[in-house]
Structure formats: C-alpha cells, structure tokens
Amino acid sequence: MDLVKFHLVAALSWLILGMLAGSVEAYRLTSPEAAGFMEAVPWLSYGRLRIFHTNAVIFGWLTNGFLAFTYYAVPKLAERPLVAAGLARFNRVFLQIALAVGVVSILGGYAEGVEYAEPPWWADVLFAVSFVFAVINTIGTILKGGPGAMYVTLWYVGLAFVFTTLNFVMANTIVAHVAPGAAGAALSGLWIHNAVGLWVTPMGTAIVYYLLPVIVRKPIASHRLSLIGFWTLAFLYPLGGSHHYFYSPVPWWLQMLAVPLTSALLLVVYTVVYNFFATMKGSWNRISDDIALRFLAFGIFSYLLTCTQGPFHALLSVQKVVHFTDWIVAHAHLALFGVFSWWIFSFIYFVWPKITGRPMASRALAEWHFWLSVVGFFLLYYVPDTVAGLMQGFTWLRGLSIVDSLKAAQPFWIPRAISGVVLLTGTVLLAVNMALKPAESGQADGR
C-alpha cells in the first residue's frame, strides 16, 4: 500500500507545482509589465515556465496519479501481487528523478521542440526506462493474473501502457530528431493526440470502470457497450491526430480523413457516458454525501462536454475560427483538469481512507475542495477562456490587428488568473486533508 501512497503524494506535489506555474503564467498575461521582474531570470522566463506547467501536470500529476491507481487496482483485479514489487518500489523514486531531470532541463534552457515531449533526450531516456519498469509490473501482473477474462479496467490499463510506451518512444525519436516539417507535424499530431487519447483517456476510463461499481455496489450496466467503447477507442482514436494541424501544409487527404474519424469518437464517448448513467440509476442520491462519487460524476459531465466539443472542433468551419485561440486552451483544461484530474481526486477520496486506515480528516475541507474546483473551474476558467477564444477568433476573422485580439481577450484573462488561486487553494485543501489526522471524536466521513 505504501506504493500507492507514495505515488499519490508525489502526484499531488507535482500538481501543486504545476498549478503554481500555470497561475503565474495566467497572471503574467494580464499584467506583463508588473510581472516584468521575472523576465530577467532565464529560469522563470514565460516560455520555459509554460513548458514546465504542461509537463508537470501531464507527466508529474496525471501519470503519478494513474500509477497509484494501477498499483492499487491491478493486483486486486488480477487477483495476485505485482510481479516485481521491488522494482515498483525502486521506480516510485526513480520516476520522480526522471521527471525532475526533465523539468529542470526545461527551465535550464534545454527544451526540445515537440509539444508535450519537450524534455531533452537524457530526460527522455530516464522517463522511458522508468515507464518501461511500470509496464513490466502492470502488464506482467495482468498477463500472469489467471487465464480468465480481464475486467474492463484492465483492458484499458493494458492498452494505455503498451500504446503509450511505443508512442513516447516514437515522439522522442522520430518526431524530435528525424521527421521534417509537415511530415513531422503529422507525426506530432499523432503523438499529442494519443498522449491524451491513449494514455490519459484510457487510464481515466479505467478509474471510472473500477470505482463506479465498487462505490455504488452494482455491476456496470452494459458489458457489451464497454466492449464497444474500448475497441472503438483503441482503433479510432489514434487516427484523428492530424486534426491538430488543420489547414496546415500536412497533406490534405490526411486532414480530410481526420474530420469523419474525429466525429466517430462520439461513439466512444457516449458508450462510457451511457454506461455511467445507466449504472448510476437509482444511486444518484449518493453523490450528495460521497465526495469520491461526486467527483466521478462531475468528471463525467465534463467528459461529455469536452468530448462533444472535440468532434465539433474538427468541423472545418469551426476550426477556421477557434484554432490557435484560447478556446482550445479552455478545451484542453476541461479535459485534463475537469475530467481526468477530478477522476484522480475521486480515486484519492476513495482510496486514501483505505490505505491509511482512517477516514479523511475533514468533511468540510473536502467540500471546500470540491466546490472550489468545480465552481472555480467552470466560472473562472472554462467559460471566460472559451469566450476569450471566441473574441480572438472573431477579431482575427474581421481582419483586425493582433493587438486588437489581445485587447479583446484580456478582460477574460483576469478571471482565469484568479481561477489559478482558487483552484490551487482547493488542491492545497486536499493535501491538508490528506495530511491531517482526523479528530478522535469526529464523525467518519468521505469513505
């Protein structure tokens, strides 16, 4: 159990660092002059800190969170201990070293030019080795876990680990060092798309398929739908990657294919969403007193929203306006924060009492964390930033200058900068809640 705990603490530390960087960046866009003192320090340069932010949250927070989930759920589902528990214990520290080397190299001015794969080659090697260690344990445990069918969660976990290993190596070799120009763009579209689609998405879905039946004590409504959802995700998702470079010099046939292939993802999403709603039938009253279930449910709402947005963006007439704008930034945060981070929060509220042997210290802190995260995110981040994106897109479409698009967007960047403080506060409350011992007389809560 120590393994799960360690990864969760590491995950949360990365999240706080990543959010801190994100908040600073959001503030700098509203007051570049006031934040000017940071410009003299190369390590705090805007461009470097931005890369730090994305890497810290995707690889530090989400990946550590998913590993914590993997090490908790896989042995339970495979009905056997991890095949190499010693390796996992070594790797929990080794991964943090690999990540730290990566982000320090970025801040020190060694970033490479592949989005979401910016750490230089030495950090890539460390991370890849660490990831393979995790794969050995995960896949090894799944394969040795008895001859029978795997539970849905294990399909997703297996897919995510295998696909992402290959994808990561592809991005940091072919995209970073071999593929030129437009060919490189097609391949990096594949990488960034699949980093979200075949690492974050299946791991998140795995969490839902694991937590939901356990929490509501009912089987998943439709096994067949989960099967359809899984195979369509695995097959269709990787094929839409070029939608990140619409109207670019990437071959037109590829861009054209990306439109229907991206639309087809609605099928993938709605199977998961339907299964969630159908399983929840009769259990909705539980979301008021179960924070884990509530984060799971609100994550599903965001999931429905963000994944419906996706195919909508892939329509060329929409793309014309929203591409390159904050609309996309809002969309990405809806997915990575509003969906997958909430699902990890859900896992934390579910698992923390189990691995520490005591309930969460404070119900009030948990409620504050939830409402700050949800209201803070939608009201102060998602909606204003989406509007900022529309302002930018239509300012450009009218042929106005770039400066005018900044003027139009800036009022909406102010709530975004405030949201940094709000969301960070929520996360710190979670950390405090995990660290505190519950009062002896306090009523048991959470889970």
């Binding site: 001015g109 030019g113 060092h177 391949l187 990787p238 470079y245 109207y247 046939w253």
Partner: protein, 389 residues
C-alpha cells in the same frame, strides 16, 4: 471472470497485442508514414532552396543557432509558423504556407497557438533593430504586447542595452522565416500603391480617440508626447521621428501608416480599421502644427534663392531636383529620401539634421554649410510644400 470461455476480444494477450501494438503500428503507418511519403513526392522546393540552418561547411549557421534558441525558449508555444488558406490570413501574413518551406525543420515549429502573430512570413517585414528593441522589451515597440521580454539576451552598456550573440542569432533566424516569399511580403506590407487624396471630416471624438490609439500603437517608439523619445529609442537607427518638428497633412500620414516606412523600424499599420488610422493621422498631424507655422514664417526671397542653389547642388541628387524624394541616387536608399513637397519641417530641425546627419539613413552631415546656409535651405524646403495646409 469466467475462465476459458471468455471471448477472444477480452483475453489479455489479444487486447495487448491487437489494441496496444497493432493499432499503434496501424496509426503510425496510416497517419504518420503515409503522409510522409505523400510529401516526398508533392513537396518539391523551388530550385536553389537550401538548408538555411547550416553554412557551406555543414556547421551550424547563426540562423540554425537562432532556431535552437527559438525552440528552447518555447517561442513556438505562442507564435505559430504556418499561414492558413482561410480567415484572411494571407492578407495579414502573406502567401499561404507550402509544405517544402519547412523541409529542413526537425522538429517542425508549426505551433498550435497564437497569442502573438504567426512568424512564418517575417523575412523582410521588419528591420533587425525593431526585433532587438522588441526582444529586450516588447512593450517598447508594441505598447499593448503581452510578450515577455528577454533582457538576458542583452548586455547593459554605457550607451544602453546591446544584443549579445544569442539575440543576434535569434533575429537572424527570424529574418529567414519565409525568405522565399520575402519580396511578396515586402510588396504587400510596404505598399506604395495607396495614394490618399482627400480626408474624411474629422469626427468630434476623433481627437481623443487618436490620442488613445497613439498611446496604444505609437508611443513605444515615438514617445508619449510624440517627440521620438519612446522606450525603443536606444535600439533604433534611424531613431524614431520627432513628430513635433514636422507637419504632415492627415491624408499623407494615413498613407505612411498604411504602408510603413521601408528601411526604418516604422511598420505598416494597415490592419487597423480605417477609422482608427484616420484618428491617428489627425492626431499626429495636429502634433506638427507649430512646426508648420514656424516653417512657413521662415522664408524671405533672398534666402529662398540661396537655399535653392544649395539644394540643387547638394541635396537634389538624392531628394530629387523638385524635392520629391526621387533623385537619381535616392532610389537605392532605404528608407527613401524625404519628399519635401508633402511635409513641412521646423527650421530648427533642418538645422540640426544638416549638422548631425541622420544615422541609419543615407542622410549625411553637411559640415561645410554655415548657419546662414542651413536656414536658407530650411526656408527653401518650406517653399517646396505642395499640399494643403
């Protein structure tokens, strides 16, 4: 979990091999390698298009080093590098991007976000000194910019900040972006096709609006008061014009703002709405009113005769013998010699420029001219003016 009777699609090894490995390879081939093959046949560069990042011996050229700085600083997270064939982007940036342009970019720097403008058509759009001023403090050239400054690419000297090698490499890189389209971009940005003959009636609110817009777009270089002493001053050669010492009628000012001044750091502002450009034009024109009055008062017939003689012998070869800025030697100079039929200049300023020259332009010092000669030239220049006052 029913043992061996599970469908094949749910067995671990099948899932891992088919979904994990198989679908990865399929997507890599179909969506990555296949387009790469297409591009090899479709993306033929024009003759003479060579790798700009290495020199003849294969070593990394300044442009190549600059590209590395561009990547390491994450510039590509806020600046895209492709012009789309939609949303009027070719009006804003220039010709739509072609696949062969980026054939030497490993990794590519297309980018997925534009907080600032696209940079794939930068070659020839702005001079180096504009870029240095902008890199040191973006607000100096674009007062409303949210771009971070890069003072660590500069060293502080007694005469002000000077770019170190890294800054020069970075600017060298920016200046080759879209090099094959440089002439097209230049013709588009520094348009000389526009001749404005009349002026719209000035709106009651225009004066205040002009002042605000001047602060938002012009004050970084020309200073809040328009005296040419803005934050970008230490970087720019020629220095930004002092707008209080010369008079342009609004229609001519409009032309200049629409087309920029090629060879100086003065960019084109043609993306501003027509009304805004007019508001700025009226405001700037009003800054030159007292210079206009002084220029007109300064002349007497004797001085004019003397000034004409000096002008024809010393100035006409560049400024044209009718003072239109079209002298035989003037055509090759950037920025072009001034057209005196369209501007009135404060005699004191003429005096100063004749003594000091205008570094960064073809205008040299004229130490042989006495004070009296200089005021004669100033008087003659004022007499050349042919526009309405």
């Amino acid at each position: 979990m029913e043992g061996d009777r599970s469908p094949v699609a749910e067995r671990p090894a099948f899932v891992l091999l088919v979904a994990g490995v198989g679908f990865f390879i399929f997507s890599l081939v179909a969506m990555g390698l296949a387009p790469w093959t297409t591009l090899r046949h479709a993306a033929k560069p024009p003759a003479g298009f060579k790798n700009p990042y290495v020199d003849a011996r294969g070593d990394l050229a300044p442009e190549g080093r600059g590209r590395r700085i561009y990547i390491r600083e994450g510039c590509w997270h806020c600046h895209s590098q492709f012009v789309r064939p939609v949303a009027g982007e070719s009006f804003r940036y220039g010709p739509v991007s072609r696949a062969w342009e980026s054939m030497f970019d490993v990794p590519h720097t297309f980018g997925t976000r534009r907080i600032g403008p696209d940079l794939s058509r930068e070659a020839g759009r702005r001079p180096d000194d504009w870029h240095f001023a902008h890199l040191y403090n973006p607000r100096s050239t674009v007062p409303l910019s949210v771009m971070p400054g890069y003072p660590f690419l500069f060293e502080e000297t007694a005469e002000g900040p000077r770019p170190v090698e890294e800054a020069r490499d970075l600017v060298a890189y920016l200046q080759i972006l879209g090099k094959p389209f440089e002439e097209e971009v230049k013709a588009m940005v520094y348009s000389r096709a526009l001749l404005v003959s009349g002026e719209p009636p000035s709106e009651p609110t225009a004066a205040e609006r002009g002042r605000v817009l001047f602060g938002e777009h012009c004050a970084g270089c020309h200073g809040e008061k328009g005296d040419g002493r803005g934050a970008a001053l230490p970087f720019l050669k020629p220095t930004p014009s002092d707008l209080t010492v010369r008079f342009l009628r609004p229609a001519y000012a409009y032309e200049l703002y629409y087309g920029g001044v090629y060879g100086s750091a003065m960019p084109s502002f043609r993306e501003l709405p027509e009304r805004d450009l007019w508001a700025i034009a009226f405001f700037v024109s009003s800054l030159g009113r007292s210079a206009r009055d002084r220029a007109i008062q300064a002349s007497s017939p004797a001085m004019l005769e003397k000034g004409r003689g000096i002008f024809l012998s010393q100035c006409g070869v560049c400024h044209g013998f009718e003072g239109k800025g079209d002298g035989p030697a003037g055509h090759v100079l950037t920025p072009h010699p001034k057209d005196f039929t369209r501007r009135l200049i404060d005699p004191a300023h003429v005096d100063r420029v004749l003594q000091e020259g205008r570094p960064g332009t073809g205008m040299s010092r004229f130490p042989a001219l006495e004070a009296e000669d200089r005021s004669a030239v100033a008087a003659f220049l004022a007499s050349l003016y042919r526009e309405p006052l």
